[in-house]
């Protein structure tokens, strides 16, 4: 269910490290908790983020949730197509629904995040 090559944050964001870049989205568990997503707000390219800093909001009919950057870095790409079709988050949260690409400041930060097994355990405990 949760890709093995992703790292996961406790706020339910994932990051896929590709060299010195990291692609960021929210997990399948997060999209299920939100329900039908109706709105997404993402930062401008060029913004630098610290680990845990808010980079946007995602909104469903019933809930609104802040998006937190799993690690620090500079926003080098933003998924504009997703902003105009935010329902993709419900359909393909780990694929097409990536949100931003970061130029990673400190690779060690990604290493400190959860792997898929640890994240699945977290989800199992939250779902109880």
């Amino acid at each position: 269910m949760y890709p093995q090559d992703f790292r996961y944050a406790k706020d339910h964001e994932w990051i896929k490290v590709e060299g010195d870049h990291g692609r960021v989205g929210i997990t399948d568990y997060a999209q299920k908790q939100l329900g039908d997503v109706v709105f997404l707000e993402l930062p401008e390219v060029g913004r630098s983020l610290k680990a845990g800093e808010q980079f946007g909001t995602v909104e469903s009919v019933k809930a609104v949730s802040e998006l937190y950057s799993p690690i620090g870095g500079e926003v080098v790409e933003v998924n504009a197509a997703l902003v105009s079709k935010p329902e993709t988050i419900n359909k393909d949260p780990h694929g097409q629904a990536w949100m931003i690409v970061l130029k990673i400041t400190d690779p060690a930060e990604a290493g400190a995040l959860m792997d898929a097994a640890a994240y699945e355990a977290l989800v199992a405990s939250e779902a109880k």
Partner: protein, 962 residues
């Protein structure tokens, strides 16, 4: 046998027995219900429910109750002490004619005033359409595309506009400029609101704005200004925008029928009061404020927003949109703390526009403008300086203080109120009720005697039109709804048609937990439309409002007695505004003691979303307190958080009985822990209906509380407002109570004002007055006891079918309880399906998924009879059987009547019926529905589609057809 003197008197006295009208179950029914609970008496039930340590142990000291007729006669006598003058004071309040068809069929009609906010949209399409008309009217007239469904009043709307500007402006700007010719009550409220938020407010002439130097994120101007002048704002918005600031225009809907719209002038926000569209002045309220902005700011829009979506049959349907902006979801990050709006008054204003239509409105405006022109002409002829600037309906006459005073006094002797400015000049604002003889009286007051000419003579000499460049050129209100219902029969039937789509208390109980949908007694409502209450201007001299002041004094005394507190402010217009003003009172007290650093507010996670939203607005930092497995505040966590924040602890906000419907045993201990650590206790009065006469906020240890008069004290919910949220405070907080810039009220060290009018929505206070006057101490206590009895009786009946989430130590609930629906998820059934299915049974759902997701919170109130409680329980039990059919595999969830609910007449009479259950089970699932059927006018509404495709004005006509 001879009677004692008191018995003899009782034989002749009229009965004071309103309590048997207000309380649903009679004595025999109560006995039966008590028996089912296994308790011998109401006293015994209360003993099991309310913790002993906080019980009042004494009777409330209130006047002995009167019968309905006697209470109304007493209030009539008071009202007769009000003197109804012709008020030309203006300042955002204008006399107007409420069209009789609207007065009788909306304002005086329980089919329009008894509903709650339209969260269950399928059975609220009537008022949602009326509100959409309101939004369309505001959007058209202001020239801004997105209007909300009303705010509390013009001054608070200006406060909301300030926070919107700050939220969308770029970071680093902290100044807000308010033009000095805005209404003074608006300026005062903006100052009050800005201070705890760290916003610097600059007040001065429009010419003195220094965008860069003052680091402005926004500017507020009044258009036309408070003194009537229509300034030329051409190019002004561009200057503001170039500096990174937004432009807010406070404006007047009637003037906008003739003047260029704020949208055309580049404004980012337009706001104002819709009062003069057919809503009585009522000595300050209630009135609907309007608020419109650009599409790009929609997610920062305060208040409720009606939008168009589609239903399960693909037809257009209305609903509340973008609810995620609001405090019940966003809590401390909400765009606004306000929950209640002014729905009833917004509907009246929208219907005024529907009835008059664009041509009718323009005609009214032209006539008002012509009257003002004639007045100006006459004044000039008398040698007065009546100004040369363009204006709409308001003149400012420059004169010496002595002369000005004499004019105002002469006018008053003729029964006319004028505005006096500090510099001695005199103001007159005309309106649609103004007659030529009023002009004669005004001119004579200025002249000091008869004048040698008539208004008719002058009328031939004046220009009728507003001069360029101010004149409006674009059309407005082109939608058919504003052009179809100008004959009274058409209007009457339109109102009736919309009304028939809304489920109200005239149909069945509305068991919304935390909302207290009790009886809005007809006798309580009667005085609301008395002219002696309706026709007073809020800034009329106090000696013209003696009756009002007697009523305020009574009510303040009674509410103080009921809460156990020392002083009351009647200013706040809603529960959330009460929270905000109560917290500002606490803040002012801390500041007065040099404790500016006490800015932490503890709030249990179970609190209503308005609590954290209000706390943030009042300058507090919110620290959440956990709840334990029984739904009670986790006392250990509270103690720990209070001690950790010892140095900065400002307040605790606590609801009692809890939002989970339980009288918490530890409440005194909780309050004590907060006091020991330097904090004050704010009690949210949402659940006061379980306290009156049995315990009180002062006794549980609180320092301040608000009272939702629209819950506990019978003001109807109006479909989402009006409300009233007065606050009561302990003696040490009394000096800080809210005041007013124009009228003396509030504490000596008041922190400012929270509403435009000194006593909020003064005209509806008569409802609570009549309620308390007819119930008396015993009656009020009885109401509380029966509210608890009704809830426990229903809980007992429903418990075998639905788990009750929380109960007190004795197994009892307070006045409301939570039914668990989370277990049905496995079978694919959500509580929303239960809520929608209840509509087919003729009921409004209980509060859904609050305060616990996946549950339903039921509050019957004391006003429902046993028969009605049983009917609702029967419906819930029948629905449980339908759920079991799904759970046990007899019906697929997606094909069940639950998921397909509600059933429209169209669906069950269609030629094709391809569902596994009968048409009868779909629409007539219970015997009483066969007797009297309420038809939901639309099928299940698609919320997602509505939020993804936001559309907030009347849809084009082709969209409404098949």
């Amino acid at each position: 046998m001879t009677a004692t003197p008191s018995e003899a008197r009782a034989l002749l006295e009229p009965p004071a027995d309103f309590v048997r009208r207000h309380v649903g179950p009679g004595e025999a029914e109560r006995a039966e219900m008590l028996k089912s609970l296994g308790v011998v008496s109401l006293d015994a039930l209360v003993a099991e429910t309310v913790p002993e340590g906080i019980r009042l142990g004494r009777a409330l000291s209130l006047p002995a109750p009167l019968g309905e007729e006697q209470a109304l006669a007493e209030l009539r006598q008071k009202a007769a002490k009000n003197r109804v003058f012709r008020s030309f004071i203006g300042m955002g309040y204008h006399d107007c004619h409420t069209p009789a068809v609207i007065l009788r069929n909306v304002l005086e009609n329980p089919g329009w005033y008894t509903q709650y906010t339209p969260y269950q949209a399928e059975i609220a399409q009537g008022r949602l359409e009326a509100l959409l008309n309101y939004q369309t009217m505001v959007a058209d007239l202001t020239g801004l595309p997105l209007a909300n469904a009303s705010l509390l009043d013009e001054a608070t709307a200006a406060g909301e506009a300030m926070t919107l500007c700050r939220a969308v402006a770029k970071a680093g700007l902290d100044g807000f400029y308010v033009a000095e010719d805005c209404h003074p009550q608006t300026i005062a409220l903006v100052r009050t609101k800005a201070e705890p938020l760290g916003i610097r407010v600059h007040v001065g002439p429009v010419e003195a704005i220094d965008f860069a130097g003052q680091k402005l994120f926004g500017v507020l101007v009044q258009y036309p200004a408070t003194d009537g002048v229509v300034r030329d704002f051409t190019g002004f918005a561009e200057r503001a925008h170039a500096a990174g600031a937004l432009l807010v225009m406070a404006t007047d809907l009637l003037a906008l029928t003739l003047l260029r719209s704020p949208g055309e002038l580049g404004a980012d926000v337009a706001l104002g009061s819709a009062q003069r569209f057919g809503v009585p002045m009522g000595y300050g309220g209630p009135h609907a404020a309007f608020f419109a902005t650009k599409d790009e700011h929609k997610r920062h829009m305060p208040g409720r927003l009606v939008g168009v979506s589609k239903d399960a049959e693909g037809r257009p349907a209305y609903r509340l949109s973008l609810q995620t902006r609001e405090q019940h979801i966003r809590r401390d990050k909400a765009t606004s703390n306000i929950c209640t709006a002014q729905v009833l008054l917004a509907i009246m204003a929208s219907m005024y526009a529907v009835y008059h239509g664009p041509d009718g409105l323009r005609a009214i405006a032209r006539r008002v403008h012509a009257l003002a022109r004639v007045l100006q002409r006459g004044l000039r002829r008398l040698g007065f300086d009546a100004g040369t600037a363009p204006f709409f309906d308001t003149l400012r006459v420059r004169t010496s203080p002595e002369k000005g005073r004499a004019v105002v006094e002469r006018a008053r002797a003729k029964g006319v109120n004028l505005r006096s400015y500090a510099d001695g000049s005199v103001g007159a604002a005309l309106d649609e009720t103004t007659l030529p003889e009023d002009l004669v009286a005004l001119l004579q007051a200025f002249a000091g005697g008869p004048v040698g000419f008539t208004p008719e003579q002058l009328a031939g000499e004046v220009e009728g039109a507003v001069p360029a460049p101010h004149a409006r050129k674009d059309a407005f209100l082109l939608h058919p709804v504003f052009n179809r219902y100008h004959a009274e029969h058409e209007m009457l039937r339109y109102l009736q048609r919309l009304q028939s789509r809304d489920l109200s208390l005239t149909h069945s109980m509305i068991p919304l937990g935390s909302c207290t949908m009790k009886l809005n007694g007809t006798s309580e409502m009667i005085p609301v439309t008395w002219p002696e209450l309706g026709k007073l201007h809020p800034f009329a001299p106090a000696e013209q409002a003696r009756g009002y002041h007697e009523m305020f004094a009574d009510l303040e005394r009674w509410l103080a007695e009921i809460t156990g507190f020392a002083a009351v402010s009647l200013q706040p217009n809603s529960g959330a505004q009460g929270e905000y003003s109560g917290l500002l009172t606490i803040r002012a007290w801390h500041l007065s003691r040099g404790d500016a650093h006490r800015d932490v507010c503890l709030i249990p996670v179970s609190a209503h979303g308005t609590n954290p939203a209000s706390a943030v607005m009042a300058g507090f930092r919110v620290v959440a307190v956990a709840c334990d497995a029984h739904g009670n505040i986790d006392v250990a966590d509270l103690r720990a958080k209070a001690e950790q924040n010892k140095a900065a602890l400002g307040a605790l906000m606590v609801t009692y009985p809890s939002t989970h419907g339980v009288f918490e045993e530890a409440i005194r201990e909780i309050c004590k822990a907060v006091h020991e650590n330097g904090g004050q206790v704010y009690m949210d009065g949402a659940n006061m209906n379980a306290q009156v006469g049995l315990t009180c906020p002062a006794d549980i240890g609180a320092d301040v509380c608000h009272l939702n008069l629209h819950k506990t004290f019978c003001i109807p919910h109006g479909g989402g407002g009006p409300g009233m949220g007065p606050i009561a405070v302990a003696a040490h907080l009394a000096p800080f109570l809210p005041g007013h810039p124009l009228v003396k009220t509030g504490g000596a060290k008041s922190y400012g004002s929270v509403a435009a009018a000194p006593w909020g929505s003064a005209s509806i206070l008569c409802i609570s007055w009549v309620y308390i006057r007819t119930m008396g101490a015993e009656g009020l206590k009885r109401a509380t006891e029966v509210a608890i009895l009704n809830a426990n009786y229903m809980a007992k009946r429903l418990e075998p079918h639905y788990p009750i989430v929380y109960t007190g130590v004795s197994g009892r609930v307070a006045h409301e309880f939570i039914l668990d629906g989370r277990g049905f998820k496995k079978a694919g059934i959500e509580v929303e399906d239960v809520a929608k299915r209840l509509m087919d049974y003729g009921f409004h759902a209980p509060t859904m998924s609050w305060p616990v997701a996946g549950t339903l919170m039921v509050e019957p109130t004391e006003s429902e009879s046993k028969a009605e409680l049983d009917r609702f329980c029967d419906a819930m039990i029948a629905i449980r059987r339908e759920i079991r059919d799904v759970e046990e595999g007899r019906v697929k969830a997606e094909e069940s009547p639950l998921r397909r609910a509600p059933h429209t007449a169209r669906a069950v009479t269609a030629a094709r019926w391809e569902r596994p259950y009968s048409r009868e089970q779909g629409a007539f699932p219970a015997p009483w529905v066969k007797e009297a059927k309420f038809w939901p006018s639309v099928a299940r509404i698609d919320n997602t589609w509505g939020d993804r495709n936001l559309f907030c004005t009347c849809p084009p006509v082709e969209g409404l057809e098949d």
